[in-house]
């Protein structure tokens, strides 16, 4: 007798091949109009352009840091466009494509990375919570929120669902595993959307897990699916199904979107120290945007005029983002004390008054004495 965990891996759920060929999937049918397909293409191109502009803004000293989503556009736009108006998303810090789908202005994301604010948008207005930098913490917030949705009676017909984004590294966190378990025992309407981009800064998948990540779900008692994260159609179809499953009161799902971080972890990272160039070249062949472009061109649903128009729009967006970033107003020194508490707090009030007096003591002291 021997102990074994060997198991055959099913294929990735894929609707669009890297060559742009559409494949029917028995479990995840997707009926998109040509206009909807063009919309997804436009989203991905614009998001990639915004992202590359942000990298360049960091290089020019306009941002302190940027975490590029390059290569993950399909996973983010596909899942982001699966969300309904009443759904709530809990991002990590790389979900610029989801933010785009939720109507968060690019400049609001830049404000965070420029050091103007630690937040920057209204989560309720967009159904998109603030970025969370501590790895995996947001998975519990999403689960708690989903428990609130249950208590509001908002599960069932016309109900809403919650989605939590995180990466392969986050699956090692206790919080993520606690979130899986809290969601499972409460049957909470939450979708766990893991973008497995193969790298947690410099650590490859085999430093995080011994089993494929989607399989983690089975131990917690809910379904886990592995989708081609570079396929926007599959990402959309699978997320839609999982959200509907949640809305209907059938509980959580883990989606592992198998994708690749084509850029560095952030602008401070140097991937040449830990991964080989050939790997990137291999993944370039699976690029999410070029495969949809090939599909649209092949079916005639997108022509050269359309592609050129999207490219031109992307250039305008890049220019607009650059301008907006540079004109973000700096916060004022006394903003340090703003909104620390919702209700007055004597320590903060005293320190604010003392610091205001201190700053005022420089007024009229001239350039030499000023700060």
């Amino acid at each position: 007798m021997s102990i074994t965990t060997a198991q055959e891996e099913p294929e990735l759920i894929q609707l669009l091949t890297p060559d742009g060929e559409l494949r029917e999937h028995p479990d995840y049918p997707l009926d998109l109009t040509a206009a909807e397909k063009r919309g997804l293409y436009r989203d991905m191109v614009l998001v990639r352009r915004f992202d590359s502009e942000a990298v360049s803004l960091q290089r020019h000293g306009e941002l302190g840091l940027w975490a590029s989503l390059l290569g993950q556009e399909a996973a983010q736009v596909g899942s982001g466009r699966a969300l309904g108006a009443d759904d709530m998303a809990f991002p990590s810090y790389r979900e610029h494509g989801v933010a785009w789908c939720r109507g968060v202005a690019p400049k609001s994301l830049l404000a965070l990375f420029r050091g103007v604010t630690n937040g920057g948008w209204s989560p309720d207005e967009h159904g998109f919570h603030l970025y969370t930098i501590v790895i995996g913490a947001q998975t519990l917030h999403a689960t708690g929120y989903a428990m609130g949705v249950q208590r509001d009676g908002a599960v069932g017909d016309g109900g809403s669902a919650v989605i939590s984004y995180f990466g392969d590294g986050a699956t090692s966190q206790g919080d993520t595993n606690e979130a899986f378990n809290f969601a499972a025992v409460n049957n909470a309407p939450v979708v766990f959307f893991c973008q497995n981009n193969q790298w947690a800064i410099s650590e490859s998948n085999d430093r995080q897990t011994r089993v494929p990540l989607y399989r983690r779900a089975s131990g917690f008692g809910f379904p886990g699916l592995r989708v081609d994260g570079n396929d926007v159609f599959a990402s959309l179809a699978v997320t839609r199904a999982a959200l509907q499953h949640a809305r209907e009161g059938q509980g959580p799902t883990l989606i592992e979107a198998f994708t690749y971080r084509m850029g560095a972890h952030t602008t401070t990272d140097d991937p040449t120290r830990y991964r080989i160039a050939a790997e990137l070249e291999e993944w370039k062949l699976k690029d999410p945007i070029s495969r949809l472009r090939a599909h649209l061109a092949g079916t005639g649903e997108g022509d050269e005029e359309f592609f050129a128009a999207v490219d031109a729009e992307a250039e305008r967006l890049g220019e607009q983002v650059r301008q907006e970033c540079r004109s973000l107003p700096d916060p004022q020194p006394l903003d340090i004390f703003h909104e620390v508490y919702a209700e007055p707090h004597a320590h903060i009030d005293r320190q604010r008054a003392e610091f205001a007096d201190y700053l005022a003591s420089f007024e009229g002291a001239g350039a030499e004495g000023g700060r």
Partner: protein
């Protein structure tokens, strides 16, 4: 209408009032449901409010606080029971990096009306991790309010005030005083109660101000009774963030001396901060340095030694004597 009751029962009654007043108030934690909590503080609430509002959670403190944050984002007001002081630490990340900062980082858009109830302090003969006083970590964290109670009256009002506060409130419960019976009036409306930020002069005196909170208030009052040489004014701080320095300074300016007693280790404890603030603001009124009496800078000892670790009446009076021997 005053009656004899306990801190445990008064918190229970306060929670019941809060749940009746607002359907968004939830109780969550380990064993808070049918069992009523290991100290029975939530006794009967599960029966009367149901499993949707009194939630037995998986045994995971980070999960408790993390999902409470999510529930608060959805408009709920969760009251989390952390079973013992020493079991809080798995929830430290969610509390310090998420709960405490959410209001400010959202530009004030998000409110976090979450209460963390933590039984704390020693003196019950418990095993390791069941007797600690971690309040300084919380008081050091921007965005949290930290309060603690010393009697059933305050317990009844302050738990309700904590629940109705739009900031996260860490509510420390003196576990060795849970079942002591004293007079309290558990009727009346919340607006007649003293604010939870306010300190209280628990006993008037003229010679020295003895500052204490939570389980040490009773010890301080006993010390004041026992001291026939000095007239000791006892101030129950009640709130540790913010500290009601107005009341503290007024007392110290009258008496000219201050002694601070707490169970937590003295170094970098609440007493250190309060001593510094008294020195900054009352320097010319002081007849002696501010004296601290507290736990040692050691791990909390095995329970057979805890009577030596915890500041008792004699150690407090020794501190008072030092304020006069100077």
């Amino acid at each position: 209408m005053a009656e004899k009751t306990t801190i445990g029962k008064a918190i229970n009654e306060g929670l019941r009032r809060a749940m009746e007043a607002d359907p968004k108030v939830l109780i969550m934690g380990e064993d808070v449901g049918k069992l009523g909590g290991v100290f029975r503080v939530t006794d009967g609430l599960y029966k009367d409010f149901g499993a949707d509002r009194v939630i037995d959670t998986p045994l995971a403190e980070s999960g408790i606080v993390g999902t409470a944050i999510g529930l608060a984002l959805r408009g709920y007001r969760p009251v989390c029971e952390i079973q013992f002081d020493g079991f809080f630490f798995p929830a430290a990340n969610q509390t310090f990096t998420q709960l405490a900062k959410m209001h400010q980082r959202s530009g004030g858009r998000i409110r976090m009306p979450v209460v963390l109830r933590i039984p704390y302090g020693g003196g019950i003969g418990a095993v390791e991790h069941h007797s600690e006083s971690p309040e300084a970590y919380f008081a050091h964290t921007a965005g949290l309010r930290v309060i603690t109670v010393a009697n059933p009256q305050d317990a009844f009002w302050m738990i309700q005030q904590a629940v109705s506060c739009d900031d996260p409130v860490v509510f420390f419960e003196p576990k060795r005083r849970y079942h002591e019976r004293t007079e309290a009036d558990l009727s009346g409306t919340l607006d007649s109660a003293t604010g939870m930020d306010a300190a209280r002069v628990a006993r008037s005196g003229t010679d020295v101000t003895l500052l204490a909170y939570g389980p040490m208030v009773k010890t301080a009052l006993q010390a004041a009774e026992a001291d026939t040489e000095h007239s000791i004014e006892v101030v129950d701080l009640r709130s540790l963030s913010p500290v009601d320095y107005g009341t503290v300074f007024a007392s110290v300016r009258r008496t000219g001396r201050a002694v601070i007693a707490h169970e937590a280790p003295v170094s970098a404890g609440l007493g250190a901060e309060i001593a510094a603030r008294i020195t900054e603001s009352c320097f010319y009124h002081l007849e002696a340095p501010v004296i601290r009496v507290g736990g040692f800078d050691t791990p909390y000892p095995p329970s057979r030694l805890e009577e030596h670790y915890l500041p008792d009446l004699d150690r407090v009076l020794d501190g008072v004597d030092r304020a006069f021997d100077f």
